[in-house]
Symmetry: C2
Subunit: 120 residues, 2 copies
């Protein structure tokens, strides 16, 4: 695993995204054990607390859980991962339509623009 960061956004956010991607894409399968905080932090060359922050966020989102001393695991609930994926997707879509309304496009016009841009 190679980690890379932009210079203009918080590192913990980018860590979160990259780990999230690993989970959603199945590279960290449901139920599997994650490397320890310190290990991940060392891999990514960040302070353990920074990694911890990313993991805590993922925990808040329900994608991982920690067992006090045995480590941290990806949720076993595959449906939950799928739901998370769908929910994020749905949110993003709804946010778009809301933004577009702010700009003065109603739903139909937005739809039209989408078709025009993606040619579908």
């Amino acid at each position: 695993m190679t980690w890379h960061f932009d210079n203009d956004r918080p590192i913990y956010t980018q860590l979160l995204e990259q780990i999230l991607f690993l989970i959603i894409s199945g590279q960290y399968p449901p139920g599997s054990k994650l490397p320890s905080v310190r290990e991940l932090a060392s891999e990514a060359s960040v302070n353990p607390n920074t990694m911890q922050r990313a993991l805590t966020e993922l925990e808040r989102m329900g994608l991982v859980y920690s067992q006090r001393t045995s480590g941290r695991f990806v949720t076993e609930d595959e449906a939950m991962i799928q739901r998370m994926k769908d929910s994020m997707g749905k949110d993003k879509i709804l946010a778009l339509f809301k933004d577009m309304e702010q700009l003065g496009y109603d739903a139909d016009q937005t739809m039209e623009l989408i078709h025009k841009i993606t040619r579908r």
Copy 2:
């Protein structure tokens, strides 16, 4: 004009949005003169520099221009306002599709989800 602010985002951003909306919606028509920095700042009860920052952003976006001592004006170019609107819309749409790909949806799947959510 009444101004109102959330407490969790920079004021200058919210000023920008509100003025942008006034322009896009035609309440500040193309070519019209905006109130002075100090006037706007006073109306909105913010420091003039904060208002200035919002206006500078709008200027960078090309929606307004300033004439050193006579004041600041909305661009006369209506097409430009429309283009700005379209461009922002287009950007938002493209960003969505990109985000969705990150989540693991290809363009077709995203399209499908959009239809499902909006029922169109």
